[in-house]
């Protein structure tokens, strides 16, 4: 591994972040809902962090709190090792959950407008917008009204809005939904440029294969709580390791071995979960006593399996 480039960016940390949606006054029957419950994770500088979870798991609520769009009930958002400030957030690129731009304004005009609001001078904003449009294949649509674009193209415009002006962190809610594979690739390439200069990128998605392929870090949310987080490989190692055993005759006997939990037995083949290394040794010795052993291998779960298990 080469020496990592000096990182000008900073980590984005979320510590015990909690959001309770209170019962509306006058309706005592509705109990307050803890949409996000003591969520903690880090989106490290220079890495892509994937944020996954089912609908209503609290991804959007967490991201809105990070951006200060939604008030925090409890916990902290830290940037660069200290509590995040409004000034920090103004330097973050943000893509909200629901898509929308000014439908009746040309693409170029509104991107320049949004860039200028973030303090970029008009000529620089224009150059940067045109460059991004070019890279996402929208150069010819700069003067079109947004409402005339397809949903996928509107999505690209929206992403450009978040990437303007060298943001210090990127918080993107479902940035890839609705994009074709080619668009996903050019998007990822763009995001990599930002991670390369040390920016933490947090994005939510429910396309697990994509997250597995792209992310250096993963945070899985379920009912407002973090159920798993870390690098995908770590998560795979941390997951309960299973073993496949193939013997000469029927393997039904494995059910009686101590420390062995048989998940599936099919003739001479068995899929088992072992409580510890002793159990593994015991299983193997017993099998050899009974006859030939054709196969004894660990089976690593895929991310999709882990996801299904932790969110089940």
């Amino acid at each position: 591994m080469t020496t990592p480039p000096s990182r000008p960016g900073a980590d984005l940390e979320v510590i015990d972040l909690t959001r309770v949606f209170g019962a509306p006054a006058g309706s005592p029957s509705d109990a307050p809902v803890r949409a996000v419950d003591r969520v903690s994770f880090t989106a490290p500088s220079g890495l892509l962090t994937g944020f996954v979870g089912g609908n209503g798991a609290g991804k959007t609520t967490t991201m809105r709190m990070i951006m200060g769009v939604l008030a925090i009930t409890g916990g902290d958002v830290r940037f660069d090792g200290r509590p995040v400030t409004q000034d920090d957030r103004r330097a973050f690129g943000y893509m909200p959950e629901e898509r929308g731009l000014y439908p009746k304004q040309p693409v170029l005009d509104q991107l320049v407008y949004l860039a200028r609001l973030r303090g970029i001078a008009a000529p620089a904003a224009r150059a940067e917008v045109l460059d991004h449009l070019e890279r996402l294949g929208l150069a010819g649509r700069a003067k079109d009204h947004v409402e005339k674009l397809s949903l996928g193209n509107q999505q690209r415009v929206q992403i450009i809005a978040a990437l303007m002006g060298s943001p210090r962190a990127l918080i993107l809610d479902e940035p890839f939904s609705g994009l074709d594979p080619a668009a996903v690739e050019s998007m990822v390439e763009l995001l990599r440029e930002h991670t390369a200069r040390g920016v933490p990128v947090l994005f939510s998605s429910h396309q697990l294969d994509l997250v597995e392929r792209l992310c250096e870090r993963l945070v899985i949310l379920k009912q407002g709580q973090v159920v798993a987080s870390g690098a995908p490989a770590e998560l795979q190692r941390a997951g309960a390791v299973r073993h496949r055993l193939v013997v000469g005759a029927d393997a039904g006997w494995v059910r009686g071995v101590q420390g062995v939990h048989a998940i599936d037995v099919d003739g001479p083949e068995a899929l088992v979960e072992l409580s510890d290394d002793d159990a593994a040794q015991l299983l193997l010795t017993t099998a050899l006593e009974r006859g030939p052993v054709h196969e004894f291998t660990p089976v690593r779960p895929t991310l999709a399996q882990i996801y299904r298990e932790v969110t089940a």
Binding site: S45, R64, D87, P96, Y102, L114, S166
Partner: protein, 427 residues
């Protein structure tokens, strides 16, 4: 290498305010928002259509008044041959009209007999038929010797014509009677004249003041509702599309609100100045051109009052937009403001007396009532200034309250909000 990477990177140790990244100390954000509001509005087709229609209406109305006041009405009055008294009366009426500068010409049309007179009335060759004394008696079958005059028309004779003829016949008859009694009309009416004069030098017809009140109230209504609805629409557009979230994380929301309010105020001001200019130019072509200076003074006050007061109305509309959660909610959330404005419109154009004096000090109604009092010459020189200070204070207070409500409501999703909730929000 993209444009995103050619910016000097700031170290993790750098204080955020020292960074060259985005979003720091963007103090001109309100100006950028304001520019956008103005440009988008100025290019909006329905706004431009409305503007053109309003201008055409104003030009058309003043043109109509100009034509109305400059045209000369000609009446033809039939007189039966030999009815010399009637002929004299018609000629006298024409002279009297010319003398009073009434732009009315009365022509006599001599006809042979009563049947011929009826015929010309039916054919509409004459507007009326005047018969004097005995002739009238015979025609109507009343016994001869009965004194009196008759003005006949195929339908009801024109009221202006009949008034003119009535006073002429009266004058002539009194003159004749006076001569018979050995005296003159002047002698009889000597010392019976009453002159009115006003000492402030303001000579505005109350009718003009009333019309001006109506027009100003209408301009107020048109300007506030039109521009206000636009602001509410632009706020909900951003809220519904979550652009508000992107913008809110980039710049302070008070900049956004200030930009929106100022932008639409500039538009509303420009629109009013345009209307006023067209109206005044039109007015200068009419007989009312003599009162142009007083009307101009009143209009200038109106524009000043409107500009200050509109800031408050714009802020209210911005909150109404932020309280909604979808465009469909706007009707509901802008309802109370609309109700208030319609109320102001109705109250101000019909107010008089003490009520008008009070209204000329109450914020928002003073936008219409004070300029009307200025036009009527009722307001002392310091009154508009005091009223303006009161409204400025009101505007400042409303904008502050609205700013809080706007910030509280804009980022809250999930259903329509109330003012109470918006003001209580932590946001």
């Amino acid at each position: 290498m993209t444009a995103t990477t050619n910016r000097p990177q700031t170290g993790a140790t750098a204080a955020p305010e020292a960074s060259n990244g985005v979003g720091h100390g963007n103090r001109g954000a309100w100006l950028i928002v304001m520019n956008r509001e103005i440009v988008v509005r100025a290019l909006n087709k329905s706004f431009l259509m409305g503007l053109v229609i309003s201008l055409v209406m104003i030009a058309g109305l003043t043109g109509f008044f100009a034509w109305q006041s400059s045209k000369t009405d000609t009446f033809t009055v039939a007189v039966t041959a030999g009815d010399t008294a009637a002929l004299a009366a018609v000629e006298g009426a024409d002279d009297a009209a010319a003398e009073a500068d009434q732009k009315v010409v009365v022509e006599a049309l001599e006809v042979a007999d009563d049947d011929a007179a009826r015929a010309v009335l039916e054919e509409e060759d004459a507007d009326a038929w005047l018969q004097s004394g005995e002739a009238a008696g015979e025609a109507s079958g009343v016994e001869s010797g009965e004194e009196g005059w008759t003005l006949s028309g195929w339908r009801e004779p024109d009221s202006g014509l009949s008034q003119l003829l009535t006073s002429t016949v009266e004058t002539q008859t009194i003159a004749a009677n006076a001569a018979e009694a050995g005296t003159t009309m002047d002698a009889l009416s000597a010392g019976a004249t009453l002159d009115t004069q006003r000492l402030d030098g303001n000579a505005i017809d109350p009718q003009v003041v009333f019309i001006a009140g109506f027009v100003l109230a209408f301009l107020f209504y048109l300007g506030t509702i039109g521009s206000g609805t636009m602001i509410a629409g632009s706020v909900i557009e951003e809220k519904q599309s979550r652009l508000a979230e992107i913008i809110a994380t980039a710049v302070p929301l008070r900049h956004v609100l200030a930009g929106k309010i100022l932008g639409s105020s500039v538009i509303a001001l420009a629109q009013n100045l345009l209307f006023a200019a067209v109206g005044l130019i039109g007015l200068s072509f009419t007989d009312l051109s003599t009162i142009l200076p007083s009307v101009s003074a009143s209009l200038i006050w109106f524009v000043v009052f409107f500009t200050v007061g509109f800031l408050a109305v714009a802020a209210l509309y911005a909150v109404a937009g932020a309280l909604a959660s979808r465009t469909e909610d706007l009707q509901h959330t802008t309802g109370p403001v609309m109700f208030l404005l319609i109320g102001i419109y109705i109250v101000t154009f019909s107010a008089e007396g003490v009520l008008e004096v009070v209204l000329s000090y109450v914020p928002l109604t003073s936008i219409v009532s004070m300029p009307v009092r200025v036009l009527a010459g009722e307001a002392l020189w310091w009154e508009p200034a005091v009223s303006l200070v009161i409204m400025a204070a009101f505007t400042a207070a409303s904008v502050l309250v609205c700013e809080r409500a706007y910030r509280g409501a804009l980022l809250q999703t999930g259903g329509r909000l109330t003012w109470r909730k918006a003001l209580a929000a932590e946001g």
